[in-house]
Symmetry: C2
Subunit: 160 residues, 2 copies
DNA sequence: TTCGTATTGATATGTTATAACATCCGGTCT
DNA sequence: AGACCGGATGTTATAACATATCAATACGAA
């Protein structure tokens, strides 16, 4: 599979449990601790192919008695991002589950402005013209943010 | 010139006044109003090849008696962004002057994490692999955010 | 001049994110 | 067991970023 993952997800419960299992395995392998709050936070993100704000996540956690204060959500999200199980969508100040957890990669996102769905594509931005420009300038790229906003297949259809 | 603009700026006062003049011309041509607050805000951004937060801008404006409340800065910044004279850097929640004002383009940014300098490169992200992925998925791109974080030429040298 | 619209002034509020410090809990060493 | 240490949580407070709303004013067009 090489296209963006997300829009074409059909059986989402499989999708979710696969990702969760991969995260669990990765934690076990590296000695990281997927604590209840962290695990639940990941589940909350995985439940939708959308980006959720930290305070949205916090509402879910609070409803389940897992914490009521902002640091609870931010700590869990930071852990997931550092561990490679989630990404921050800068254009939305929101977070979304990664679709190939644990692997070190340079994600790119397709964000629907109508239904808020988010798909993760795997590109190598530093290898294209941006990389050329950076090399020409002597700039060393460490991280890239690539986010495209527009209309997803469903919403393009609707508009017509 | 095709590389990223910003790191190689030598005579900055020329750089500044050129940009300002272009903005002024563009406003005149389109009937837009480059009011004192807007003009000063652009000058503040142009003064550095960095991104400034809205509240940083506001501090400058306040010191000059041009307004003390957040909406003053946000209105001016929104005007400059819409007019194509400035860009928002999503990864920093901050704003930077555009280096080719008025032209409709898809900018990409190189952001130094050490000295906070920002360079604007001109790429066509929707034409690369991201565009391919989007087309394959039926996603219609309307806007792209491309931001690379790393070390600028000066700071790479320093580190060594 | 009158009208309509863009801009500014002013107040309040909403949203996102982190600092700081106390406490708990699980493993290790003695 | 007891002391210790580091990571994880609990808790309070605040910093940083952004917008809603409505009144007042300036400005160009008719
Ligand atoms: Zn990912
Ligand atoms: Zn959609
Ligand atoms: Zn630009
Ligand atoms: Zn630098």
């Amino acid at each position: 599979m090489s296209g963006p993952i997300g829009f074409q997800c059909q059986n989402h419960s499989v999708c979710m449990s696969t990702m969760l299992a991969q995260a669990q395995d990765h934690c076990t392998a590296l000695g990281l601790r997927l604590t209840p709050v962290r695990r639940r936070t990941l589940e909350i993100l995985l439940a939708e192919h959308r980006a959720l704000g930290a305070y949205d996540v916090l509402k879910h956690l609070a409803a389940e008695g897992l914490g009521t204060q902002p640091p609870v959500a931010y700590r869990a999200l930071d852990f997931l991002v550092k561990a490679g199980f989630a990404h921050k969508i800068e254009a939305l100040n929101a977070y979304t589950a990664c679709v190939h957890p644990g692997q070190d990669h340079a994600p790119a996102f397709l964000i629907c402005r109508n239904c808020q769905s988010v798909a993760e594509a795997d590109t190598a931005p530093a290898k294209g013209r941006l990389g050329d420009a950076a090399r020409a300038a002597g700039f060393v790229i460490e991280r890239t943010v690539v986010e495209a906003t527009g209309l997803c297949p469903d919403c393009v259809g609707e508009a017509a």
